[in-house]
Subunit: 196 residues, 2 copies
C-alpha cells in the first residue's frame, strides 16, 4: 500500500463517505462549521486567492426562499437538512490579494485587473475550495449532500449581488434512513491516465 | 474540538501540507499514482460525471515540450520535479454517463446534450477532482506543486485534442531544500461566512 494516510481517515474522507440524500434532526452548529473552515482554509488556491464564500441558510424564511430556487428533485432534502450552505465564488477576490499573497502583492493589478480573468480563476479556485469544504464536512463526522440542480440566476438574485456567483448548494448533517443510492461505478485508472 | 478526523491526518492533508517549489530526486512511481487515484476517485461529482483526466509527463522529450509551455517562473521546477501531471477536463464526459450514473442514465441526453453546458460542468467538476487529487498526493506522503502559470492553448495543442482542456499542471515529489515560502495568511471565518 502506497499511502501514508491511515486507513480510518481514508474511509472517513473517501471510501465510506457518501453523498447523503436524507438526514437526522441533529443540528449542525456554527462551531462545527467554524472548525471545518479552520481546517480546510489551508487548502491551496492559485495565488492563495481564496475566492470561496459561504452563505449559511439558517432562518425558516431564507430556507423557504432557497427551496423555491431548487430543482423539483432537490426540494424535499433542501427543506429537511439540518443545515444548508450556499457555496459562492467571489469575482472581486483580487481586492484581498495584497493581504493574501504578500510574496507578490502586484498580482492584484498585473494578473487580475480584468473581470473575465477573475471570473474564470474564481470559478476554478472556489471549486477547489468547495472540494476541500466537502472533505472538511466529512472530517467533522458529518455527511455532505452537494447539489447543482437549481435556478442559479434565482439563487444569485435572492441571496447574492453581481460580484458573487453560486457554485453549488450543500446539505449538511448526519445521514438519516436510506440516505444514499448504491455506490455508482468509477472510471478505472487506465481509463483516465495516459503517460507521455 | 468538533472534528472526528485524527489530528495527524489533519496535519498531513491540510495544516502541515504545503505547496512545494523544490523536490528531491526520489522517483514517484505509477503504483503511487494508482494508489492515489484509487482513493480519490470516490470523491463526489455532479451526476458522478468524473470528468478529470490525467496526463503523466514521464519522457524527457515530453517534459521539455511542457516546460516550454510554462511561464518563466514555473519552468525550473517543472523541469526538476520527479513527476509532472497535467490535470485535464474532458468536455465529452457525457459519453460515460450511462455507465457512471445508472440511477438516471438519461442524463447524457436530457442534461448534457449541449457542449457549452458540458464545458461549464466539466470545468467545475474536474476542479473538484483536482482538489481531491491534491489531497491524495498528500495522503501518499508526497508534496504537490499545482501551477496555473502556463500558455493553456499551447499545452492543449501539444498534449491534448479539442475535447480536452488543461486545468492545471501539478509537480509531484518529496519536498527538497527551501521547498516553500512562509505560510500566507488565510481569510477569517467571519470574513467569508454570512448567515441568513
Amino acid at each position: 500500500m502506497s499511502l501514508v494516510l491511515d486507513s480510518a481517515a481514508q474511509d472517513l474522507l473517501f471510501r465510506e463517505a457518501r453523498t447523503a440524500n436524507t438526514f437526522t434532526d441533529e443540528p449542525v452548529t456554527d462551531e462545527q462549521v467554524q472548525a471545518i473552515y479552520d481546517l480546510v482554509k489551508y487548502g491551496p488556491t492559485a495565488y492563495n486567492q481564496s475566492p470561496l464564500r459561504i452563505v449559511l441558510v439558517r432562518s425558516a424564511e431564507a430556507r423557504e426562499r432557497l427551496v423555491n430556487c431548487m430543482s423539483e428533485g432537490n426540494r424535499a432534502k433542501t427543506a429537511a437538512a439540518p443545515l444548508v450552505a450556499i457555496l459562492v465564488a467571489d469575482n472581486e477576490f483580487h481586492e484581498e490579494l495584497p493581504h493574501l499573497f504578500p510574496h507578490f502583492p502586484q498580482a492584484k493589478e498585473l494578473i487580475f485587473s480584468e473581470r473575465p480573468v477573475r471570473e474564470a480563476s474564481a470559478q476554478v479556485n472556489a471549486s477547489l475550495q468547495a472540494a476541500y469544504f466537502i472533505m472538511g464536512i466529512r472530517a467533522a463526522g458529518l455527511a455532505a449532500g452537494p447539489m447543482n440542480g437549481m435556478d442559479y440566476a434565482a439563487v444569485q438574485k435572492e441571496f447574492l449581488d453581481d460580484d458573487h456567483v453560486p457554485l453549488m448548494v450543500v446539505n449538511i448533517g448526519r445521514p438519516g434512513p436510506d440516505a444514499w443510492h448504491s455506490r455508482s461505478p468509477r472510471l478505472r485508472y487506465d481509463e483516465i491516465v495516459t503517460t507521455v
